[in-house]
């Protein structure tokens, strides 16, 4: 498990890349990845191209990120999700909350 964060120059787009397992063990790193961003209207991109597994705690963390983005007037977007990950996101109806691709 590793989480890397990239911020655009204007600080309005934060890309969080999650590799390996995305579960309870990631909570600390994941929270740190977005906690520092307080620019209003920030778009958080979750790059899940290398995410292998995701459990319900990961879904809870994404919802917290969504709340955080909401307080900033921003949004979140999940990109490069594999079919298994997409399946989990669809079961959770996340595809209706924000863009999943």
């Amino acid at each position: 498990m590793s989480i890397t964060t990239e911020k655009s120059d204007d600080g309005k787009q934060v890309t969080i890349k999650i590799d390996g397992r995305f579960d309870f063990g990631s909570h600390h790193d994941f929270r740190d990845a977005y906690r520092g961003s307080s620019e209003s209207g920030t778009l958080f991109m979750l790059d899940m191209s290398n995410t292998e597994y995701m459990d319900s705690s990961a879904l809870g963390m994404i919802l917290l990120l969504k709340e955080h983005a909401g307080t900033l007037g921003g949004d979140i977007k999940i990109v490069n999700a594999s079919s298994e990950i997409k399946n989990i996101l669809e079961i959770a109806n996340f595809d209706k909350l924000f863009s999943v691709s």
């Binding site: 309870f24 600390h28 319900s56 809870g60 917290l64 399946n87 959770a92 109806n93």
Partner: protein, 402 residues
């Protein structure tokens, strides 16, 4: 006798052929026609034989002529008697055929009407099933259908998935709070380190004060007591500091335990939910397929049932041939009677002629006149039969009841 019979070979041959035709075709109309042809053959054969006989006997002795004429008259009379008997048995057969057909048609009629009503009942059942099937696809109905069951299962599943995610989210909030608390505890620890430094410095200060008090001698005795008290306070402060430190470390340890418990609550594998959802989706798909299949088969059954019904109707309609047959049989009976009467008359008259041993001319005249009467009657029979057969043509679907 045998030579006389040989003279009638064309009539015998025709009779055999006609009988074969009747047996092979087995039809009342053909029966009547073949019988008439048989009759004509016998009559013409008889007339021909008589002519030959009279021709051969002309110029012969008057006695011989009279004997021959008597013999011919007797033979023809005998022939008429035989044919009359045949006609009686034919009439009986015709009435038997009529009865048999009537019985069979009665049975067939009741069988077909039962078939028709059962078919109608079956069609109604199928229609009921079809309307049930369409109701199943209609969500407005109050009835609890399998589709609704699947929908509700799906809803329940969604509810539980939502619940799990919500619990996970709240747990993560708790975990974050605990993280923050641990940070606060660490801050308390660092603050405690500061107070320990102060206590240590106070202790050192008290020690220095005690040394200075001892150097002052008697004058510093009071100050030495104060210095000792201050030192005591700094030691107690350190002791207190250690206790707080222990309490904080125990709290951090407890928080770690709490986080582990929350981790158990928050981390749920989603594959169970995914599999359940897939099964529900599969069930819905199968159900739709099954509904479609059953509906298609039911409408097929329905169309088969209507085809059966129209077939039964056609059969019932066709059964009206019994009326035509009965009519034909009645005609046959009437005309058989007529012919029998002719032959009876001919038989009687010829027998009389034979007894009186009259001349050949009288016998020929008698046979000729009887033949003429018979041929007129036969013409009538033919006309009536032709009419009935024309009326009996049912291919146009119009049944003329007569």
């Amino acid at each position: 006798m045998l030579t006389n019979l040989i003279k009638f070979w064309p009539a015998i041959l025709t009779s055999i052929i006609m009988l074969i035709v009747f047996i092979v075709l087995h039809d009342v109309t053909y029966g009547v026609l073949s019988m008439l042809i048989m009759l004509l053959a016998w009559l013409f054969n008889a007339a021909y034989a008589l002519k030959q006989f009279s021709r051969s006997s002309t110029g012969g002795a008057e006695k011989a002529d009279g004997d021959a004429t008597t013999q011919v008259a007797r033979e023809v009379g005998q022939l008429s008697f035989l044919i009359g008997g045949e006609l009686s048995s034919l009439k009986e057969s015709v009435s038997q055929v009529q009865n048999l057909i009537s019985d069979a048609v009665g049975g067939l009629s009741s069988g077909f009407s039962t078939l028709s009503s059962e078919t109608r009942a079956q069609e109604q059942m199928v229609m009921g099933l079809i309307s049930n099937m369409s109701d199943m696809n209609d969500s407005d109905t109050d009835r609890f259908t399998i589709k609704q069951f699947a929908n509700e299962t799906d809803e329940i599943l969604n509810y539980f998935v939502g619940h799990i995610i919500n619990v996970s989210k709240e747990s993560m909030v708790m975990v974050h709070t605990i993280d923050d608390m641990v940070l606060n505890m660490n801050e308390i620890n660092s603050l405690l380190a500061d107070t320990k430094t102060i206590a240590d410095q106070t202790n050192l200060l008290a020690l220095n004060a005690a040394i200075e008090a001892a150097r002052a001698g008697e004058a510093g005795r009071g100050f030495a007591v104060v210095a000792s008290e201050v030192r005591e306070l700094s030691l107690r402060s350190n002791e207190f500091n250690d206790k707080i430190k222990n309490a904080v470390s125990r709290s951090v340890h407890d928080m770690d335990k709490a986080q582990k418990i929350i981790s158990e609550i928050a981390s749920k594998d989603m594959s169970v939910a995914i599999k359940s959802k897939e099964r529900v989706d599969e069930m819905m798909g199968n159900l739709n397929d099954m509904n479609g299949f059953v509906a298609a088969k039911l409408s097929e059954v329905s169309s088969i049932t209507s085809r059966i019904e129209s077939g039964v109707n056609l059969a019932v309609q066709s059964l009206q041939f019994e009326d035509i047959n009965r009519q034909l049989c009645e005609y046959i009976g009437v005309h058989l009677n007529q012919i029998k009467e002719h032959f009876d008359t001919m038989h009687n008259q010829l027998n009389q002629v034979g007894e009186d041993s009259s001349n050949t001319a009288e016998v020929i005249e008698l046979i000729t006149s009887t033949n003429q009467l018979l041929s007129q009657d036969l013409e009538k029979i033919n006309q009536n039969t032709r009419q009935t057969v024309q009326q009996g043509d049912m291919s146009e679907g119009e049944i003329e009841l007569f």
